[in-house]
């Protein structure tokens, strides 16, 4: 795709230089114009007649190791949140007066009055390192940066290279007809390197960025922290685990279908993906767990026909094989475990009676674990702490749901939602505990306080 700078030694330094040059013009645009122009990215990617959508859908399955059906679902889910109405809502949810992104605004809440202004986290380009393979994460991060007026140097994750290229291409095309779009196009660049290999581009980017936004595992984040100067702000989005809780009131067939859908969208790659589901019910939830596991297996089997999974890599296939055969042996030993699975390891459901955390090995693999009470659930989830991301819930009345949300949030959950809302949080979600735009700004006050 065009608009994608050639990778190679020196690319990052050159890109940072261009982005620094673009910063002043970007500062001169209004947030509403930035949202309006960025909204075209989402609109065009949703437009069935737009050639850009067709190009993305053709390239995404291979790049992201997804089936074409998954690629389309992910594109629709992501692009919907990049449209103007959704981005406008994001800004308005995050900022009481969004004009603070453009100018000093009065803050009537302060007793003696003051004026506030939100600036990008640090002057100069932000480096967005997206070390992951969930398509759309890189573009969402870049859009957040551009909305707050910060030029973006994007290092997309493996498996997430198509959408950033499309973002740049669309802005380039829009820039041919509107000056403000041209300014945005000049304010985002994409450079690729192998993370952690100490390449020239990596060193230059980490040295030259005004701040860093990093998505990745503990080792990646730690490496970035070590590599940047102590004064460089680092916004971290670490890996997370999603879970689900199915209460006594849930219709298990509906719950199973919703769970299967949530598992299938990203083949468990997303931080919101439910890796383990806990069932509450009589007899310690055991009978309902078995029934939910069986129905989930039916739902995943059906989805494999209508919404196929992506190809398994060797490592993942090996991990699933280990899980499947070990669980089969456990079942033969009579420990209560059971396993269901597709013939080609494409999906697996494990009924695991042991009250322990069981992160999925990846792919369409989910563990179902019975729990006797919410207190037991809390004890199991406690070690996860802030690494807990989304919790999908079903089968609780309003009062019980509120109580459960309180318990889970105290442990560390940042999002408690119905099962059918798991996969695509809205742009204004509380991402790992904080508003995503507010993490990218610093506030200045002008006045007596």
């Amino acid at each position: 795709m065009t608009g994608h700078p050639d990778a190679g030694p020196g690319s990052a330094a050159a890109a940072l230089g261009r982005l620094r040059d673009a910063a002043a013009a970007l500062r001169g645009t209004r947030w509403s114009d930035r949202v309006r122009i960025l909204g075209r990215v989402g609109a065009r990617l949703l437009d069935a007649g737009d050639p850009m959508r067709a190009r993305v859908l053709a390239a995404m399955p291979g790049d992201a190791r997804m089936s074409p059906a998954q690629a389309e679902r992910v594109l629709d889910g992501m692009a919907r949140d990049w449209t103007e109405p959704r981005l406008d809502t994001l800004v308005r949810v995050e900022f009481e007066d969004p004009d603070a992104l453009d100018r000093w605004v009065d803050d009537p809440r302060a007793p003696e009055g003051r004026r506030l202004r939100a600036f990008p986290l640090a002057p100069g380009p932000g480096l967005h390192i997206c070390a992951g393979s969930v398509p759309g994460v890189s573009v969402s991060s870049a859009i957040r940066g551009l909305i707050v007026g910060s030029p973006v140097l994007l290092k997309p994750g493996g498996g997430d290279r198509v959408l950033p290229a499309a973002l740049i291409d669309i802005l380039e095309e829009e820039g041919e007809v509107e000056t403000a779009a041209r300014i945005l196009a000049d304010a985002v660049e994409c450079v690729e390197w192998t993370g952690g290999a100490g390449s020239l581009d990596e060193t230059e980017a980490l040295d030259g960025a005004a701040f860093v936004v990093v998505y990745g595992g503990g080792a990646t984040i730690e490496a970035v922290r070590r590599a940047v100067a102590g004064s460089t702000p680092v916004v971290e989005y670490g890996h997370r685990m999603g879970v689900a809780v199915v209460g006594r009131g849930a219709d298990l067939d509906t719950a199973a279908k919703a769970l299967a859908a949530a598992v299938a969208v990203f083949d468990q790659r997303g931080c919101v993906s439910p890796q383990q589901v806990f069932t509450l019910g009589p007899l310690g939830g055991t009978e309902r767990a078995a029934e939910l596991a069986a129905r989930s297996s039916e739902a995943l089997a059906a989805l494999e026909g209508s919404f196929p999974s992506g190809p398994l890599d060797e490592g993942l296939a090996g991990a699933v094989r280990q899980l499947r055969d070990a669980t089969e042996l456990r079942a033969l030993a009579g420990d209560g475990a059971q396993v269901w699975g597709g013939d080609d390891l494409e999906w697996t459901v494990v009924l695991d009676p042991e009250p322990e955390l069981r992160p999925s090995c990846g792919g369409r693999t989910i563990h179902v674990t019975p729990v006797g009470s919410e207190a037991d659930l809390e004890r199991i989830l406690l070690p996860l702490g802030p690494h807990m991301q989304t919790v999908g819930v079903d089968g609780f009345d309003a009062g019980a749901a509120q109580g459960l949300a309180e318990r889970l949030a105290r442990i560390g959950a940042s999002r408690v939602v119905p099962l059918d809302r798991i996969a695509f949080p809205p742009p204004w979600w509380i991402h790992d505990g904080q508003g995503p735009l507010r993490r990218l700004v610093r506030w200045s006050a002008d006045g007596p306080v």
Binding site: G218, G270, L329, A333, L357, P359, C361
Partner: protein, 368 residues
Amino acid sequence: MNSDTLFERLAAAFSDGVARAWSEAEFDGWASEVFRRQYELNAVYRGFCEARGRGPDDVAGWTDIPAVPTSAFKHLDLSPGRHEAVFETSGTTRGQARRGRHGVPSLALYRAASLPGLKSHMALAAGGMRILSLIPSVRDAPRSSLSTMMAFALDAFGAEGSGTFADPERGVDLEGFAAALDRAVDEAVPVWIAGTAFAFVHWIDAAAEGRATPVRLPEGSRIMETGGFKGRSREVSRGELYADITRLSGIPDRWIVNEYGMTELLSQFWDGPAGADDRPPPEGRTHRPPPWMRSRVVDPVTLEERPLGRPGLLLHVDLANVGSVSAILTEDQGIALPDGTIRVLGRSPGAEPRGCSLALEDLLEARR
């Protein structure tokens, strides 16, 4: 069938050493007998085999024997009957996760399976040699199969001045080790240093920080290196590691030998023999099983054998595992080569690139 006799007969066969290759028919004969024992005594394994339609009378050769995954050792006791020892997988790479446990009915058989490879690949002459072990002693680590193997080595081959310079709590005893090295140099006695890759990295890092001094060990000194780095402070390539060891000890890399083993297997692979003139550079070395072990590289989905040279999951059949299950499907990727050796590519990385969902390893790391 008399199991005790089977153990004794296997031990006797192992004591013939690793030099003579066993024919396919000879191995199949043993494998069939061992499989029959395991099938009859282990009800869980029998159920697993029945589900695959494989009983002792259905197995034409070792490649037909159903393999259990290494992860099953984390949940089940796969060794029926009385154990003389229980080995546990290391906690270093899996944090506080459930450890694999391998019950060993006969330490004598484990000894019989270990000593020939040690002797041959470490190129030991009669009378043994001075062994300086950086692996915790079996007294300090009674559940470590590696420590137990080193106890066999020290007992069988350790000459005067041999000793252990590590413990599970404090790691490498740098001071004691340095004194032993100095003594070897002063006395012009070649030594065999045995340690995990991580122990050698510890030594190298100490030297870089001025807490250890390079020496030039007497000619004929050699290194046995084993284990990996995952979950440790840093990982280095084997070539880098050996270059650093050579710089610190004066031992050329052709005298450095890697042992590849795992708790779930009672036999070991070696990339020796130490000192051989025709050894390739470290990164190009491959591992050879003893005659009583066979390996296949399989497709993880179908479990069908992959052609020589094509990577896949390593599956081993180890007759020394007669007391548990001999056919083991590992989590390691590897390549089978025409000369009967394997190239170990390392642990299957799981879903890579994974996305932003938390992997088990990350979770355990975060909980430390």
